[in-house]
Amino acid sequence: MKYSYLILITLITLFAGCNQSTNNEKSKANKIIIGVSMLSMQNEFIVNISDEMQKKAEELGAELIIVDAERSPLKQIEQIESFIAQKVDVIILNPSEYEACSPAVNKALAANIPIVNVNSATKIAPTAFVGSNDLESGRIAMKFIADQLGGKGNVVMIQGLNGQAAQIQREQGAKEILKEYPGLKLIAQQTAEWDRSKSMDLMQNWIQSYGTKINAVFAHNDEMGLGAVKALQDAGMKDKVVVVSIDAIADALQAVKKGDLDATVFQDAKKQGAGAIETAVKIAQGQKVEKELMIPFQLVTKATITEYLK
């Protein structure tokens, strides 16, 4: 019993000491502290954004606290709550869900802490948004297919995890273009959950049921695009089918260079990451910022590949 009191007292003094020292440091350096909650650090694209954020923060002298939400909106809300409790200067949110993450944005705004969304949107508007319009990426990809097929042919679409903003908007953008080309027919669409091996299985099954009827494949991300390419290659059909996907990850760029993947759509992780930090720092310094900073997508084909391979 005695000992436990002793331990308790020691702990309390230790904690009190810690608190003071951090407070002192903060006031001394007067650094801007930014809390960052990222969708998933298991996703290469998201990791790229976060790497760029760290670089930019170092350059601008801001301190980052980066946490991984592991794709869970609930976890993300809890992380924002703890940022609010820590009294960070600005929060950057890379939302895992359109609707479910909105309470997080609301909480930050209610606590008077500015919040910047990066890469994906939430239903509730944050202080500022930095990212790209996914409708545009779907349009670019389907437009490429339309051009390659001369506006006529059968297309299959491999979708991301149903219900996510990126999946919904990429599908919607692609369908807008399909409407403009009555000769293009969407003969099948199905989710492969952003996963390469699931996409490969799905493509194999489609090759069984549609065979040479398939003229083009649009996959919502590169992982799935590469899975489809592998299935088509195994079936000896790649030469006759156009495959396009989105993100321009390193693997996909190599595949475009080799001619395996016909095109990918480049989403600029660097500009998104750097843009988010710049916006956050400006807000913390009381400067005016644009409510929406849109980073454009770019089509990457064999003709333009050298610009992206660095």
Partner: protein, 312 residues
Amino acid sequence: MQYINNIRQYGLLIVFGIICLLISLITPQFLTVSNLTIIVTQVSINALLAFGVTFVIITGGIDLSLGSIVAVTGVTSAMLAHPDSNPVLIPIVMGLLAGLLMGVFNGFIITKSKIAPFIVTLGTMTIGRGLALILSDGRPVSNLSDSFNYLGSGTIFGIPILILIFILVFALCSIILSKTILGRYIYAIGGNEQAARASGINIDRVKLSVYSISGLLAGLAGILLASRITTGQPNAGAGFELDAIAAVVIGGTSTAGGRGTMSGTLIGVLLIGVINNGLDLLNVTSYYQQVVMGIIIIGAVIIDSLNQKSNS
């Protein structure tokens, strides 16, 4: 004992036959050599996991770390399989070794600490996922040698290597379970651990063996998956353990232990593959696929418990 298993298996076989017949009536593409080959190739990775975990489940245990072992071994082998780096045997051996080590770790902790296998393997599941991310730095490991990639997409005498491995592993596991002393001990422990201990069986050694086999086969699955998709993905295999356990349960192995067969698991694996393939051919959305799969899992267990009652 054998008799009960036989009845159940015929029942399962009949269900399997009816489902195949139904699908082939609706889509003519189903019953073609190329489609059947694709189904068997697609289920082969789940099959390896299911065969391994069948041993574990018959002892009354569970292994939730399978999917993470797949990720660790896939990443490990991929990192060693870049072109002109190592002979293809090195990534294969190291991948298998990584899987075996994780299995031994599971078995060691379970036997020494007496903590429930559910908890221990839940822990290794998380540890494994973390290790795969650390090893790969959170990025897919790509640019693998052609000889490594050949494993997952090549053929020998026109038969995909994946299918050959699938058949070989099935044969080996069946023999271990039904023809060896280890197999008999596995059933004995699952049936009644106290009685097995009293009769002088070294329980710890048997348990260590089953988790090691399970880890080793998950390692093989990880290597083959990496080869098939030509990358080692740190987030590969998430949820694979549940697919494998589903196949084992559909195949009539009791999760309480003591009862089950490899051939039951084989049919369970094929049934899942046939249904997924059939629903894809029919362009049914994945939402319905999940519902159908859940109904089949519960249905299989209900039939199992009815059978049990009528026999006791």
